[in-house]
């Protein structure tokens, strides 16, 4: 087994330490960003609450007690009960699991597909680029909520189908950004060097281009989580997302709207949960963008 030359090892360890220094600098900059730290803190709390929901929720979120329907906030039910006597606090805690999971899943799914399509279009250009770009243009021509509704009409209403529908609607954003960055990055010397060394197109794309393309995508993804949570809530509000009795925040708003006059708590608290979560993610995303943007 042959050893790598000493010069090469020294060179790669220098690169490693340079990368660590850059990462540390970025983290420092991020931590100095006040609104971003607020966003991350709230987000961490939400994640902890969501993970710990089974342990900390005072009641089963699906358990009905019809005779205690629309009970106002009290010591027993700090956020009151809904029309079926279900504890709203418990439902919001469990709902956080659904919303955060949907947000992350949508971003992973749409981001993966979008980045792949964007890189292929940007790298190969020509006819492949034309086909992908036109398809992306067509998808972008539809408002994302309308597109999601159309997809759900075909697949049928459910949370999983809503997740797919929202992911499909978000793919064009990632594809377009990735294509643009790929077009610019592929002109760089390191790509020419990789090509000269005989690197195959997939290797060049995933080993060399991807790390340099991913920055803007990460920012987009962080904001995409918020969009996904909002869109899921909207679809559930319309009866097209989470189905009864799932404690999804949008669905809670939807069933509560008939009783808003008698029971303000039934819509206020799920609405606040959505607002705080989306705000936290947006603050985090904005901070990330500021930190990663070389102009700032």
């Amino acid at each position: 087994m042959s050893q790598p030359p000493l010069e090469s090892t020294l060179h790669s360890s220098a690169i490693q330490s340079a990368r660590v220094r850059v990462a540390l600098a970025l983290i420092k900059r991020f931590l100095r960003h006040r609104s971003a730290t607020v966003g991350v803190t709230i987000l961490l709390i939400l994640i902890i609450l969501a993970v710990a929901a089974p342990a900390i929720a005072p009641f089963d979120p699906l358990k009905q007690n019809l005779r205690q329907g629309l009970a106002p906030p009290s010591a027993e039910h700090p956020l009151g009960t809904d029309e079926f006597g279900r504890d709203i606090l418990s439902r919001i805690l469990y709902g956080a699991r659904i919303s955060l999971r949907v947000g992350v899943m949508v971003v992973l799914l749409s981001g993966t597909i979008g980045v792949l399509l964007g890189m292929v279009a940007g790298y190969y250009e020509g006819r492949i680029d034309t086909i992908i770009s036109r398809a992306v243009d067509i998808l972008l021509a539809f408002p994302s909520l309308l597109l999601a509704i159309a997809v759900i009409t075909i697949l049928g209403p459910s949370l999983i189908n809503a997740l797919f529908a929202i992911a499909i609607a978000q793919v064009p954003r990632y594809a377009r950004v990735t294509r643009g960055v790929t077009l610019s990055q592929k002109q760089r010397d390191y790509v020419d060097a990789a090509r000269a060394l005989g690197g195959s197109p997939p290797r060049i794309m995933f080993i060399h281009l991807l790390p340099n393309v991913i920055g803007p995508v990460v920012v987009l993804a962080s904001l995409g989580v918020a969009t996904a949570i909002l869109t899921t809530a909207s679809l559930s509000f319309l009866g097209l997302g989470a189905q009864p009795p799932e404690p999804e925040w949008g669905a809670m708003l939807s069933t509560g709207r008939s009783y808003m006059r008698q029971a303000w708590w039934i819509t206020l608290f799920p609405g606040l949960a959505i607002m705080i979560t989306v705000l936290a993610i947006n603050l985090f995303g904005d901070g990330l963008r500021d930190v990663l943007d070389p102009k700032t």
């Binding site: 358990k63 009905q64 629309l70 029309e83 009866g239 009795p245 709207r257 008939s258 029971a263």
Partner: protein
């Protein structure tokens, strides 16, 4: 100045006295431009007497149409309508009607014996629908024109409920208009004889009615017989009851069908009045597709009946106590206010333990997920429901879940729900039917009944239903209705849930909403005090 000071107290006294006498309002019953009504939905399909099947069609028909006879809501006696007199032979197979001679359709063509024959024969040819059922279905033989204003309707068998049905939903379409408009009739054009003409009909949205300026033949069951006070009536459907209440409170509606949970709040508001009218017809109930497993298993149906906490349903915000626990298949209004002990005794009371025993007896064992299983298959029931019933079905889903039954809720738009029922694409659904008479159950649960979408065929039950329509004494018919309901409860062919009211709220200035024996109101005689 002196004179003024002397006159002012006098004027004040006169004005105050006038206000005291009139209660601060003018009570003149005068014409006005528009009455705005908001219901839970505006209805679907069309308004042709042959094919109309949504319950709201019968509400509209009380304004755009007339009936041969009318049922007095106070004593349920049969009163004249388009027919001034009628005779019935001894075995109730031949009915002869003498018609009013001053009635015209909205298109100006005369209403006559020929028009009655045209409509009845057209309904009979369809061999389906609520109109066909009201006409006695296969019992109907024919209609004979004896002279221009005398008509005879003949049945193959005794049909004692015919007069009741005539007063419920058999309005008359203009033969000329039907011929002229073909497929468009009922959807784009409706031409009948009533105090209002249909100007605009948008299914699932609204109907706009305009006064029939020639109307002089209103029946005596109303306070007026001539022109209505409102020149137009707009009836709009809004699904959310919070929005309906807001429409009333913001002055965008005069009369609103409210949600039960809004009754107490609006009763406490001095600007409005709430009127609770018991619904005539069948109660809100679970209905089953008896052709499908596992619903075809009596134990499963009995278990469902025992798993439902009906007192809980009534107490929940959805009904807020403004409803009654259902006793039988028919509502209290149809049973004359009370049920005999036999129906009470046949009730399947809330007993989850009994439900569990029944399911286990049929081999449904509790699985690790909390859902019962048999041969590796989960006990899942597909329940279809119209969107408006979302808040009713969720407690049922939760209650059945408690005994290990998984309910898969499938929300459908009203028309799609009807279609799914008719096609048998469901295990369980929730519904109720509007209508008067003991024989309302017949078309829903009798073998071959026009609305029997459940695959129900039970000879014993059919015998009771035959008696309801053919027995010549009221006592026999009533007993048959009792026996039929007991039999249905014992076999859990349907599970009664809630006996509801139609809750209407209106501005205090709105007067004389009329509640027929069939309890969707009529707005024909409504007037506004200013």
């Amino acid at each position: 100045m002196r004179t003024h000071r002397a006159i002012k107290p006098l004027l004040r006294t006169i004005v105050v006295s006038a206000l005291l006498i009139t209660g601060g309002t003018s009570i003149a019953q005068e014409e006005y431009d528009l009455l705005r009504v908001v219901l839970n939905n505006a209805g679907t399909g069309n308004l042709d007497v042959v094919t109309a099947r949504h319950t709201k069609a019968t509400l509209y028909a009380r304004m755009f149409g007339d009936f041969l006879v009318n049922i007095d809501p106070n004593d349920l006696t049969v009163q004249p309508g388009l027919a001034t007199e009628w005779t019935v032979n001894d075995d109730a197979t031949v009915y002869t009607f003498t018609l009013r001679q001053d009635v015209t359709f909205h298109d100006g063509t005369p209403f006559s014996a020929e028009a009655v024959k045209f409509n009845f024969d057209r309904i009979a040819e369809a061999k389906a629908g609520a109109g066909y059922a009201a006409l006695g279905a296969a019992r109907y033989a024919d209609t004979t024109v004896l002279d221009e204003f005398t008509v005879q309707v003949t049945f193959h068998e005794t049909y004692v409920q015919f007069l009741n049905q005539l007063g419920l939903r058999l309005w008359f379409d203009s033969p000329t208009a039907v011929a002229q408009h073909g497929e468009d009739y009922g959807t784009l054009v409706v031409v009948s004889t009533g105090p209002y003409k249909v100007v605009e009909w948008v299914a699932n949205d609204h109907v706009l009615l305009e006064r029939n300026e020639d109307y002089t033949w209103g029946p005596d069951i109303y306070k007026i017989q001539g022109l209505p006070y409102a020149r137009q009536i707009e009836i709009r459907g809004i699904r959310e009851f919070a929005t309906r209440r807001a429409a009333l409170e913001s002055g965008q509606a005069d009369i609103v069908m409210i949600g039960e949970s809004d009754v107490a709040g609006l009763e406490a508001d001095p600007r409005f009045r709430v009127e609770l009218e018991p619904k005539a017809g069948t109660v809100r109930q679970l209905q089953f597709n008896l052709r499908r497993a596992p619903i075809d298993d009596l134990n499963v149906r009995l278990a469902i009946a025992h798993a439902i906490d009906r007192e809980g349903l009534v107490a929940a915000p959805r009904y807020s106590g403004a409803a009654n626990v259902a006793i039988g298949i028919l509502g209290r209004k149809n049973m004359g206010g009370d049920f005999p002990q036999a129906v009470h005794d046949a009730q399947l009371h809330y007993d989850p333990e009994r439900a569990a025993e029944l399911l286990e007896a049929s081999g449904w064992i509790m699985g690790s997920s909390g859902i019962r299983e048999k041969d590796g298959e989960p006990l899942t029931i597909e329940m279809i429901f119209p969107s408006a019933a979302l808040s009713e079905v969720q407690p049922i889903q939760a209650m059945l879940s408690e005994v290990g039954i998984d309910v898969d809720l499938v929300e459908l738009q009203t028309q799609a729900w009807f279609d799914a029922e008719e096609a048998g694409n469901f295990d369980m659904t929730i519904g109720s039917n509007s209508g008067t008479g003991l024989n309302l159950m017949n078309r829903i649960y009798q073998s071959g009944g026009t609305n029997n979408w459940w695959g129900l065929s039970d000879a014993t039950l059919d015998g009771y239903f035959d008696t309801i329509e053919s027995a010549l004494t009221a006592e026999e018919r009533y007993q048959a209705a009792v026996d039929a309901q007991v039999h249905m409860l014992e076999n859990a062919y349907a599970v009664p849930l809630v006996d509801v009211f139609y809750p209407f709220a209106m501005r205090n200035e709105v007067n004389d909403v009329f509640y027929p024996a069939f309890s969707w109101p009529s707005f024909y005689q409504v007037w506004i005090s200013n």
